[in-house]
Symmetry: C2
Subunit: 148 residues, 2 copies
Amino acid sequence: MFTPRPIGYIHSSYKHTDEVPRGLGAQHTAEGTLEILREFVPGLDDIEGFSHLYVLWEFDLAAGADLHVTPPTDDQPHGIFATRSPRRPNPIALTVVEVLGRDKGTVRVRGLDMVDGTPILDLKPYLSSIPEEKLKLGWMAAAHKTKS
Amino acid sequence: MFTPRPIGYIHSSYKHTDEVPRGLGAQHTAEGTLEILREFVPGLDDIEGFSHLYVLWEFDLAAGADLHVTPPTDDQPHGIFATRSPRRPNPIALTVVEVLGRDKGTVRVRGLDMVDGTPILDLKPYLSSIPEEKLKLGWMAAAHKTKS
């Protein structure tokens, strides 16, 4: 397969994963920047026309993988692919952010849930949504209902 | 960084990338299966409770990367991070699919846009959407309007 390389790094006010809100319904309104490495900056052209981006990033603080995890928002174990847990076979994370602006290699965004210094793997335009009424949230809906 | 490894492979009726519908508004209704490798099958537990999944997969047919690309749906070049082009610094692709069912390591899905045999990197539950009325689609909206 390919060899991953950072295209840049997150700049956020979170210094530790414990500071990041977690679980279904957690509000991610933190603002910060995506600092793209100089060699990749031309790849940002036209990105500011999109309201939202997918940020693919590395769970660089996770060590190892589990096939079952008990998330902080539930007391039952679930298959890793039915969770957002960082301890995945490939430690790739996905976050949707809102674009606030761009200045050369710096993209200002809202909705960060990564700690400062996290390596970015890719950015992609967010193009379409599944209507909320068509979404089923499996164990998360049940766990959320119990806790709230 | 980490060393990517396939967690399984796509089984679809597309044998060549030319067969996959492209561009904004392309309908992806193809059904097929995600065939997860035996060692990772326990990680699928509870996945069938979610209506939609993110599939992260490798653009294994893409060779090299460009910082500007002219997509098939436009006649202007755009920054690679403002497109879905496969020729990215990290050749990671993202597709949202609808879950139809699961039998052990086989997940039946609708909405595939990958060719048969494509390596899968990760599966994640799709949890929430940005409302359509809040989305701005940049150059894609303009290119789409011109063509339709």
